[in-house]
């Protein structure tokens, strides 16, 4: 829950692009182009800690991103910021999670990229790596945009809606094959009788 004076200050400093729900400690950014500006303002207001950042794939090129911040001096105040990001069609980066030799982020010049917030809040560097790895959203400006958890050889982004792991497909194929074999055996058994 946001105290009234803090909610007033946010409204004043961040303008109309932020739809604030002080009771829930929640804010929706209506213009994601203003993201960095709004984030800088929030940090100036006192939200100096980034606690959590994650995404949700809505299907196609659309994602929702969520960033939870905490006020520096008033530990009892949290704010979750939500915005929409559209990854331009056909511009999704290759599944380069950075192998052992990868030292720095691959270049994404000319691609559809999301601005990194790691220059504003250092802790978001790890959060952006996680989002990049699972959703394939590239963060321009993240100093170390390489994979964190997944096997570098894995193709695709597991938390996208269309993702199907190869092993799942094999599993489905095997199940269908087993069922077909069982049906065939029944037919053959009946024929023998």
């Amino acid at each position: 829950m946001l105290p009234d004076e803090l909610a007033g200050q946010i409204r004043e400093d961040c303008g109309d692009v932020l739809l604030l729900d002080p009771a829930r400690g929640w804010a929706i950014l209506t213009d994601s182009g203003q993201l960095q500006l709004v984030c800088r303002q929030l940090k100036n207001i006192g939200f100096i800690r980034a606690l959590n950042m994650t995404a949700n794939h809505l299907g196609g090129p659309d994602f929702h991103l969520y960033l939870t911040l905490r006020h520096g001096r008033r530990h009892d105040v949290s704010l979750t910021l939500k915005w929409k990001f559209t990854l331009l069609e056909g511009n999704a980066p290759a599944a380069d999670r950075g192998g052992e030799d990868t030292e720095a982020a691959p270049a994404y010049a000319g691609q559809s990229v999301h601005p990194s917030l790691s220059l504003i809040w250092r802790a978001t560097e790890l959060m952006e790596r996680e989002i990049f790895e699972f959703f394939g959203i590239p963060f321009a400006g993240n100093p170390n945009l390489i994979g964190l958890i997944l096997d570098p050889q894995l193709q695709g982004f597991p938390l996208r809606r269309e993702f199907r792991a190869a092993s799942h497909e094999n599993y489905a194929e095997n199940v269908l094959k087993q069922r077909a074999d069982a049906a065939m055996r029944e037919v053959l058994d009946d024929a023998q009788l």
């Binding site: 800690r49 790890l126 958890i149 997944l150 993702f163």
Partner: protein, 383 residues
């Protein structure tokens, strides 16, 4: 004892340059309780850089939960944090309750508080045993597991399970405690208070331990703050932040909580903070016992079949002060009985990546003591 200066050694290049060595510690290593690889670059015995490599235990939990109902999702999440699995149960229940606007009976809230604190002690006991091993002391693991077994007996008595309790459910708690439960918990608290004093006698003031931990792995408060540290790691660096006091949940708002902090941010401070926390947890448990015998266990309006429970459309971020720090959950629900998206904020992830800063300039021998002081749970990092 006063601590005057950091024991970190300034890394200087010797005129007689020798080749630096890169050690690969893990993924299977006697000093690492879970699979993890630490790539350690060292100049002689001095650590210059550490790069953690994680993911050896990745189980795809965040994808799996979207294909399961909420009851199953809670079970999966508790397997990310198996030493104190009730925290994940609480997170899922609280997220649903926030979206649906469900109120919880006071007795259930007290019982939840009690279980969360029992879990905290259980986790800290396991950490204490492991830390002893990291420091080359074998006694703590034997005695701490002895106490932990008694604690698991209590949790089993309550929920039927020793580790993944699944006892905290939306609207309250699953079952009533057995009749003699309060007496057993009181007896444990009394007995454990004496054991804590014993630990302090033989370990906390042990000259060898103090020499291994004092001014080792110092973490500046600003650095900790900026890099996402929470829980005992942050408090060890002197920042008195505890969600139980600052954003109270369950019945913590009714309690007068003491938040212990360290002064130097070293291994010893993190150790002492956790010890004070165990004493504080005992005090909270004893307070809870007065309120757990009478009242409703569950909001009667909530669907008792957790597996069939559909959750209205909504989004929420909720967090709990787990034994390792802020364990958070972002839940997006779409009106069905399966979560649309669940993301776990794992405190261990941020603490693990502090290792590079914490170990730089210390000796290789200090690495595992520093690692042990962070209490990393690889299950929540890898997910």
């Amino acid at each position: 004892m006063t601590r005057s200066s950091d024991r970190r050694v300034e890394i200087r290049r010797d005129p007689l340059l020798t080749e630096k060595l890169v050690y690969s510690v893990g993924p299977q290593h006697p000093s690492l309780p879970s699979p993890l690889e630490l790539r350690v670059q060292a100049d002689g015995e001095l650590i210059e850089r550490i790069t953690p490599e994680v993911g050896f235990m990745h189980r795809g939990v965040e994808q799996l939960v979207t294909q399961r109902n909420y009851a199953q999702a809670a079970g999966l999440l508790s397997r990310c944090e198996w030493l104190a699995g009730s925290n994940a149960d609480w997170l899922v229940a609280d997220a649903i309750e926030r979206i649906e606007g469900i109120t919880i009976p006071a007795r259930a809230q007290w019982l939840r508080t009690l279980v969360l604190e029992l879990s905290r002690i259980g986790n800290h006991l396991f950490w204490f045993g492991n830390l002893g091993l990291e420091a080359g002391a074998y006694t703590p693991i034997f005695i701490s597991l002895r106490e932990r077994e008694m604690l698991l007996d209590l949790l089993e008595m309550l929920s039927g399970h020793r580790h993944h309790h699944g006892w905290i459910v939306p609207g309250g708690v699953r079952t009533a405690p057995p009749e003699d439960f309060s007496g057993h918990v009181r007896a444990f608290c009394l007995w454990f208070q004496g054991r804590l004093d014993e630990y302090e006698d033989f370990f906390s003031d042990n000259a060898i331990w103090i020499n291994r931990s004092e001014l080792i792995g110092t973490l500046e408060p600003e650095f900790a703050f900026e890099h996402g540290a929470t829980g005992p790691v942050l408090r060890g660096s002197g920042i008195a932040h505890d969600l139980r006091r600052d954003q109270p949940y369950a019945m913590y708002g009714e309690l007068d909580l003491h938040v212990p902090t360290g002064e130097y941010g070293d291994v010893l401070d993190r150790y002492r903070v956790r010890f004070v926390e165990m004493r504080e947890s005992l005090r909270i448990i004893e307070h809870c016992l007065a309120y757990i015998d009478n009242g409703e266990l569950r909001n009667a309006e909530v669907n008792p079949d957790f597996a069939q429970m559909a959750v209205s459309r909504g989004e929420v971020y909720t967090a709990v002060e787990s034994p390792r720090g802020e364990l958070g959950l972002t839940l997006v629900s779409d009106g069905t009985n399966r979560p649309n998206r669940m993301h776990l904020r794992a405190p261990s992830l941020y603490h693990l990546f502090l290792l590079d800063e914490l170990c730089r300039g210390y000796l290789l021998a200090d690495l595992f003591v520093i690692y042990g002081s962070l209490d990393i749970m690889i299950g929540e990092v890898d997910k």
